[in-house]
Amino acid sequence: MNQLASKRYFGFWLYLMTDCLLFAALFATYVVLRGNTADGPRPSEIFNMPFVLVETVILLTSSFICGLMLLAAKANNVRRTKTLLFGVIVLGVLFLGMELSEFTQLVHEGAGWTTSAFLSAFFTLVGTHGAHIFIGLLWAGALLWLLQTRTFNDALLQKTGLFAMFWHFLDVIWIFIFTIVYIMGAA
């Protein structure tokens, strides 16, 4: 690996750590505020667990495909890389769509973010993850466009690798959300 690549990867690891801390602050706030429902609904009353489980499976699958994509890219198989990246995008869009429909339904049920501190923290934590997924999808789209129009080289492999790191990172964060917000909330 040349020096620039190692520098970029190293810097990106550091960035991921800072993002992790951003989520840590949101998680801490959520945990402190989740009991403060202010006459609004409690966590166990609003979470639709089967729905969230499907969401989770979709995101985990997309992360798995993303791993396969990086393997394909490392093997210089551009066609397969593109196909798998497209798969990642489809699953990502599906995940984001499901999250938005969950949010919409909650707001319609009168459980919007202005209802209580618990719901403010819920929408912010889960929504921040969703916003990251959205940025990741933009990034994946741009990457797909690059793979389509440019000759595949080390620089492009590096860009693919960085995207894969980002996507896996979002997966890890989601596992924490699934555990701390949904499973512990439904219990």
């Binding site: 190293f10 840590a24 706030t29 505020l33 202005t114 403010s120 912010t124």
Partner: protein, 661 residues
């Protein structure tokens, strides 16, 4: 129709312009200051030069100079604010009302704190690091030169927002950390808090990116042979500082984000109803805020370590203990935040834990103080002006540190909480620790960047003004604190306090005199630069790699790549002829680009839209930011140009003659 206009232009209105004498004066100063600079640039036909040579530059040294220029301008504003505050307090006793209204007073102390921490101390810190870090590491530039430019411009955009609030709208009146529920929508419906939030949010993202950048630079781009324990101690101080930045600033981003969601979307994180918890904000903001004070002071410690060793003609005493002390402080600074609010009522055990941790953090700091003194011991100490700053620092900072240990005892803290005693304490550490350190650093490295030394005599006079002015301005506040005077009062009824406020005001004037001498020093130094030219590149008989290149340091830093075999390699080479080996090789330098300025410009517009509720503007500007970033990362353009060995040799020959290359 009017409704539509209102929704289209958000909260914009004619009464956004200032109406009070003092604020009108401030606004006019900003507008005419900017206009005068702009006009002068037109008159001397320097706009193109400015854009090409400076604003678009990716050279870390130029970015560093720009940081410091911005910070010094903000220092002048911050001191102006301080002068107003003290004038008010010296006059407003009993029936006298003073010169400004309570609301203006609150805005001014909020602006003073915000500006001094975020745009003066942080600015000079990042500036100095940019100036010398790559040179000290024996490398051509920072790890990500473009990101560096983005960081600087985000910092500048935040600065611009703070100053815009003076001209149009208002600034936060809720103190420099804007505690809710006062900073919530219910009690502060105006734009002031929003200006505060977005100027910090934008500048804060810039700081975070700088943290990533400098850490990568140090850990991935050192000269060959420079193992970690061979790095200059200033570089160690930068590592620990950037670890703090990378750990602490995401918390600030998240906290400000939640406060703005409370204000923009009616959420209830920190409101006093619907289950919100204002103390959560206070915890979060100090989980960032306490590391922040060490972010400021650690680089200053690093600078003093270099200065003391150089001017004592000795190796730094206790290099390893210095490194351990830095890491001790870094770790401990994350577990003391609660001492900022012992009075919250977390209970005796919690307070005891944080009190003890706070006392322990004084130990590594004490280790450093002794190491500096032992470095001077039996050295041939030369009392140049950086050493005058150091002597002022070591005496005054120790006092400030001890008052801190005093307040670490929760029982005592309950007595002096929120009093002027506290105000005296933190100015005693930040001014004498951080600012004195930075002034020493600027004096020390000035010839490396500009090719001539600063006027020595004027520098000393300035330092003495600062030292004595500081004592006059802040020692009376300790007394006032014991007498029961709280911070942030614009009026009081106790006549016996007045004399102390007057002494304190005189102290501010002496500090102002010091600043006057610093500006004079700069002017005289430029005027008489032929007298103080640094022709050797090593004006102070220095120890580290930055002194091995000609002054002013060339844009590519090192014509030949250095490889080192010891700590203080340049000193070693001067002593024994060994220490540095040079390898001649072609290097790549980044091409200039204005993209950083453009991205920050759109971020500024986005913030303006969010502050004034002009949603479409904020949205368009946000999309523009994303597009700019995508454009930069997706483009195939070559962003670097190569300098061959032959070119480098020619440039080096010129640089050795003192030509800027």
């Amino acid at each position: 129709m009017i409704d539509m206009m209102a929704s289209m232009w958000g909260r914009l209105a004619w009464d956004g312009f200032p109406g009070e004498l003092v604020t009108i004066g401030g606004a006019l100063a900003v507008v005419f200051g900017a206009a005068a600079v702009g006009a002068a640039l037109f008159y001397f036909k320097r706009w193109k030069w400015l854009w090409r040579e400076w604003l678009t530059s990716l050279d870390a040294k130029k970015i560093g100079v720009m940081y410091i220029v911005v910070a010094v301008i903000m220092l002048l504003r911050g001191v102006g604010d301080a002068l107003l505050l003290r004038t008010q307090q010296a006059l407003a006793v009993g029936d006298a009302g003073g010169v400004i209204t309570s609301d203006t007073f609150q805005q001014i102390f909020s602006a003073h704190g915000t500006i001094m921490i975020f745009f003066v101390a942080m600015g000079i810190m990042f500036g100095l690091i940019n100036l010398v870090l790559p040179l000290m590491l024996g490398t051509r530039d920072v790890a990500f030169p473009f990101l560096n430019s983005v960081s600087f411009w985000l910092f500048a955009a935040g600065m611009a927002l703070v100053n815009l609030s003076l001209v149009y709208g208002e600034f936060s009146a809720a103190g420099w950390l804007a505690y809710p529920p006062l900073s919530g929508l219910e009690y502060s419906p105006g734009v002031g808090i929003d200006y505060w939030i977005w100027s910090l949010q934008i500048a804060g993202v810039g700081s975070l990116l700088s943290g990533i950048n400098f850490l990568t630079t140090i850990l991935r781009q050192r000269a060959k042979g420079m193992s970690l324990m061979k790095m200059p101690i200033f570089v160690w101080s930068v590592i620990t500082t950037m670890i703090l930045v990378v750990f602490a600033f995401p918390i600030l981003t998240a906290t400000l984000g939640m406060l703005s969601l409370d204000r923009l979307m009616g959420m209830h994180f920190f409101t006093s109803d619907f289950g919100g918890n204002p103390m959560m904000y206070v915890n979060l903001i100090w989980a960032w805020g306490h590391p922040e004070v060490y972010i400021l002071v650690l680089p200053a410690f690093g600078i003093f370590s270099e200065v003391v060793a150089t001017f004592s003609r000795k190796y730094l005493f206790g290099y390893k203990t210095m490194v351990f002390a830095l890491f001790g402080i870094t770790f401990l600074s994350f577990i003391v935040w609660l001492h900022h609010f012992f009075t919250m009522g977390a209970g005796g055990n919690v307070n005891a834990f944080f009190g003890i941790m706070t006392m322990i953090i004084a130990v590594p700091t004490g280790v450093k103080i002794f190491n500096w003194i032992f470095t001077m011991y039996k050295g041939k100490v030369k009392f140049a002006s950086p050493m005058v700053w150091f002597m002022g620092f070591v005496f005054l900072f120790t006092i400030g540190g001890m008052t801190g240990v005093l307040m670490a005892v929760p029982a005592i803290d309950f007595q002096v909480h929120n009093s002027l005693f506290l105000v005296a304490h933190f100015h005693n550490t930040i001014i004498t620790g951080v600012l004195f350190g930075f002034f020493a650093g600027i004096t020390y490295w000035f010839p490396k960047i500009f090719g001539f030394k600063l006027h020595e005599q004027l520098g000393r006079i300035a330092a003495y003004c600062w030292i004595f002015g500081f004592m006059l301005a802040f020692f009376p506040l300790y007394v006032l604190g014991f007498m029961g005077a709280v911070r942030r009062i614009d009026h009081y009824d106790e006549p016996s306090w007045q004399i102390f406020f007057i002494i304190s005001g005189v102290g501010v004037l002496v500090i102002l005199l010091g600043i006057g001498f610093q500006l004079l020093q700069l002017g005289v130094s430029i005027w008489q630069r032929k007298k103080n030219l640094d022709t050797t590149g090593d004006p102070w008989n220095g120890r580290t790699l930055e002194w091995s290149v000609p002054s002013p340091a060339p844009s590519y830093n090192f014509a030949a790549t250095p490889q080192v075999s010891s700590r203080d390699a340049f000193w070693e080479m001067k002593q024994s002829g060994r220490g540095i080996k040079y390898v001649h090789e072609a290097i790549k330098v980044p091409k200039n680009t204005g993209a950083g300025a453009v991205i920050a410009g759109f971020a500024f517009i986005m913030a303006f839209g969010l502050i004034w509720h002009i949603w479409w503007l904020a949205f368009v500007a946000f999309v523009a930011v994303i597009v700019c970033i995508l454009k930069r990362t997706l483009s195939d353009e070559d962003n670097e140009r190569e300098l061959s060995v032959k070119e480098l040799k020619q440039l080096d020959a010129k640089a050795r003659k003192g030509v800027r290359v």
